[in-house]
């Protein structure tokens, strides 16, 4: 199952767990599964059906441009990080 790395400021919702394994074939499905196990997590990560403004996702060490639609492998590692644009 994919591993979601829980951002430090969200670990109050996961009982302090820094990583959670959940089912999901996309980042969006994995967040749904995370929210089912730890209610409230989706509300912090998403705004409607998109990632929250200013938030990006990295899958297996690489920033993923497809956001919630990014496909996941069986052993994928998912991290949430700031979205950055420049001047």
């Amino acid at each position: 199952m994919p591993v979601l790395h829980i951002p430090p400021l969200m670990r109050d919702l996961t009982g302090g767990r820094p990583q959670v394994r959940v089912r999901g074939q996309t980042v969006g499905e994995a967040i749904e599964a995370l929210d089912a196990a730890y209610p409230g997590t989706k509300a912090r990560l998403c705004e409607g059906e998109r990632l929250a403004p200013g938030l990006a996702v990295a899958v297996d060490g690489r920033r993923a441009a497809q956001g919630l639609h990014t496909p996941l492998g069986e052993e994928s590692e998912v991290r949430f990080l700031p979205a950055v644009a420049g001047g």
């Binding site: 790395h5 951002p7 430090p8 400021l9 969200m10 109050d12 409230g40 509300a43 912090r44 990560l45 705004e47 403004p53 200013g54 990295a58 297996d60 060490g61 690489r62 920033r63 441009a65 497809q66 991290r79 949430f80 990080l81 700031p82 979205a83 950055v84 644009a85 420049g86 001047g87």
Partner: protein, 749 residues
């Protein structure tokens, strides 16, 4: 030429260069329309005040005045819209409260600029002044005056309960920082402050708006992103995107500061109310008072290292001023702070804090220069305490492919190690300093660059020339680097590619020209369009020759069926026979999502020599070498220009620039006489050194070059001043007065 490239890597005269140096280029204020009126903006004299009433009756009664607009003329944000929709409106015209000295309150359109100016003086605004808050730490204190009473801190910990001036709190972490610090043999901890600085572009903001009889809007504007301006206008005015045409003019400098729209909606509102075209051009004082400077910051940084020269941990707090509305570049600041180093344990907390100043905007690698000013001084100090060569210390800890960043991503191929090695090998690094009171500083800097979305079309003409059309605004020569990539793929000389920056009604979508993305992402779109042209040309050749499409190849010289075949047509010959072949004109199309393709960040390593006059505190920059990994320099001359320009701005930020505010929040240095930008007398010959570690996700290896060169500059100069004086500099700008304070020659303010 290496790699068989004929165009990429050469130094042609850039498109538009002759027009610019001969004064023929059309900038924002050069637009003139029949019957055009002139707009002026009334700005709040108070940094923080409730607006009780606005009475424009006397202004409207003045002969020659056609319209006055206030926030009441803007359609309200849709019900349920997020706060940022309201902020977008309040930023353009204040409603309820003025949030900084210079905040637009009303605007006038008149037959001439003088009448418009006179009319501004007739508008009566009743203000209730409120206490302003101008300092980032003061704004965070309990009981500080609140800019937005409803604002609550947003973070991944959820929305805070209590209102605050802190719009966002961000935390990045890896490993166990407490353990890492405990493992260190030496720990350095310092606090740094950087002043509010302006991008300092020479062309003031200018916008001209006209409505046609169908109610469609056209705006000519100097912007880094025509499509962004279109979206902004559509949101504010409640219009469909297709009914707004934004025409980008030539741009006289942007550096991130022209990524935001200030005047376009004001001009549009005035033009609609007056029933005539309206042009609004800012005065220099308005540019400095009311357009996005970059964040003033306070940064606390603690780093530890072992005796063997390995970094063990870093812990940082970043406090960035956002100005009047949320949006300080804390994400990039936090991401770039430690980017150069492979550190096992780290934590960065960053805060986006509102103060009563103009809303901060992007400025060349937004957020990174301030962060690097802190990191590179602490790293330098650690190297000194360990008795190590500063570049060797950095090399021992440098980020590398496969290492994990503090954001949790794994570094792709990067040139961090390579730029440090190139700096170490440069003769400058070992050259004698040649005099007393002189010091040499080095610093490493990083900017992540960006991908974004871009598109291009290429139309083939019957004489073998082509027209390339893109919606990417040419901020700093991108037209040329885009066309060069297309020419390379098409096998044409650059002179055969005519490139046009289109407007939002004629060109396909392109994200704002920012984040050092344009040569990368729009270049990719141009390559895709050129490949599409070749595919179609092969198809036309196949029709002419009556052979399957797969039998035709193009070797960047000619189309043929096989080597030595009599069936052979040059690009020009085939272009002349496209009509004969059937199938219609050849128009290639390219559209890319640069984020998906994979952009590549760029590292730079700077070496600088300075001389510090111990009596006056004056710093002279004697010699400057800037090494940078750009992936591939499509046009090395333009890349070198970017590096030199970035260093020049970095020297200004380091030594001279800083917005000075009175206690009431009004800006004191509102002209370029008082806001000191570096001139040719202040900047030495800068030697750029291009390193090319290709981005594997671009056919030519492009990373982007525009922003990295400013990032290490203030830190490198601060380190040089330290090595000249033995005293660490913890503030920007490092003016003579500040240096004398630090040297103990004079008392601090």
């Amino acid at each position: 030429m290496a790699d068989g490239l004929r165009v990429v890597g050469t130094r042609p005269v850039p498109y538009g260069a002759y027009e610019k140096v001969t004064g023929q280029a059309v900038f924002g204020a050069d637009i003139h329309l029949p019957g055009m009126l002139y707009g002026k903006v009334l700005r709040s004299p108070h940094a923080h005040a409730r607006i009780r009433s606005i009475d424009a009756e006397a202004a409207m009664a003045l002969a020659g005045v056609y319209a006055v607009v206030t926030a009441a003329d803007l359609p309200p944000a849709p019900p349920g819209a997020p706060p940022r929709a309201r902020y977008a409106r309040e930023r353009i015209l204040a409603s309820g409260k003025a949030l900084y000295a210079g905040h637009p309150v009303a605007a006038v359109a008149a037959a001439d600029p003088h009448t418009a100016e006179e009319a501004l003086g007739l508008i009566r605004v009743e203000y209730e002044p409120l206490p302003p808050v101008l300092d980032v730490l003061a704004a965070m204190r309990q009981g500080a005056p609140l800019l937005h009473e409803e604002l609550r801190t947003r973070s991944l910990a959820g929305l805070a309960q209590e209102p605050s001036n802190v719009a966002q709190h961000l935390r990045l972490s890896k490993g166990d920082p407490a353990r890492g610090l405990a493992e260190a043999d030496v720990v350095v901890e310092r606090e740094f402050r950087t002043a509010t600085v302006h991008q300092g572009y020479l062309e003031p903001h200018a916008a001209t708006a006209a409505w046609d009889a169908d109610g469609d809007l056209t705006v000519w504007t100097c912007t880094q992103g025509a499509f962004d301006v279109r979206s902004h206008l559509a949101e504010l005015l409640g219009l469909p995107l297709a009914r707004i045409r934004v025409v980008p003019t030539e741009i006289g400098g942007g550096f991130g500061g022209k990524g935001r729209s200030y005047l376009d909606a004001v001009a549009a509102l005035l033009a609609r109310k007056a029933g005539r075209p309206v042009q609004v051009v800012m005065a220099r004082s308005e540019v400095l008072r009311a357009t996005g400077p970059t964040s003033a910051t306070v940064i606390r940084l603690r780093m530890g290292a072992r005796r063997d020269g390995r970094l063990t941990a870093a812990v940082a707090e970043l406090f960035y001023e956002a100005g009047a509305f949320p949006g300080a570049p804390i994400d990039a600041g936090a991401g770039c702070l430690l980017a150069g180093y492979d550190i096992p344990h780290a934590q960065v907390d960053a805060y986006d804090v509102l103060v009563n100043k103009a809303q901060t905007g992007s400025y060349r690698a937004p957020g990174a220069t301030q962060a690097t000013f802190a990191t590179e001084q602490v790293v330098d100090e650690l190297a000194g305490q360990l008795g190590m060569d500063p570049l060797e210390f950095r090399l021992r800890n440098s980020a590398h492919e496969g290492a994990e960043s503090i954001e949790g991503t794994l570094w792709p191929p990067i040139g961090c190690h390579e730029v440090l090695r190139a700096a170490q090998a440069h003769p400058h690094y070992r050259a004698p300093l040649g005099g007393p009171h002189r010091g040499r500083g080095v610093a490493l800097g990083y900017w992540g660059n960006w991908g974004g979305s871009s598109s291009c079309t290429i139309a083939v003409n019957s004489d073998g020339t082509v027209n390339l059309l893109t919606g990417s605004v040419d901020v700093s020569g991108a037209r040329t680097s885009i066309a060069m990539q297309a020419a390379e793929v098409l096998g044409l000389a650059l002179e055969q590619v005519q490139v046009t920056v289109g407007d939002t009604a004629t060109a396909g979508y392109a994200d704002v020209s920012a984040g050092s993305r344009t040569t990368f992402a729009t270049g990719l779109a141009a390559i895709a369009a050129a490949q599409d042209v070749i595919r179609q040309m092969c198809e036309r050749a196949a029709r002419l020759w009556g052979v399957p499409v797969g039998a035709v190849t193009y070797d960047r010289t000619a189309f043929s069926t096989r080597a030595g075949s009599a069936r052979r047509l040059t690009f020009r010959e085939l272009a002349a026979r496209v009509g004969e072949a059937g199938g219609g004109p050849v128009i290639g199309r390219g559209a890319v999502d640069g984020d998906q393709v994979g952009y590549g960040g760029g590292f730079g390593a700077h070496i600088v020599d300075v001389e510090v006059d111990p009596e006056t505190g004056r710093v002279r920059v004697l010699r400057y070498t800037a090494v940078q990994d750009v992936g591939r320099a499509i046009h090395p001359g333009q890349v070198e220009g970017q590096i030199k320009g970035g260093v020049a701005q970095g020297i200004g930020w380091a030594l001279y620039e800083g917005c000075q505010y009175a206690p009431d929040g009004s800006l004191l240095n509102t002209s370029l006489l008082d806001y000191k930008l570096p001139t040719a007398l202040d900047v030495p010959v800068v030697e750029p050194v291009i390193v090319e570690v290709p981005n594997p996700n671009h056919p030519f290896g492009v990373r982007g070059a525009g922003e990295t060169p400013i990032v290490p500059a203030p830190a490198a100069i601060a380190n040089a001043i330290y090595h000249a004086t033995g005293v660490r500099m913890q503030e920007l700008p490092m003016t003579p007065a500040y240096i004398l304070q630090r040297l103990g020659t004079i008392e601090g303010a």
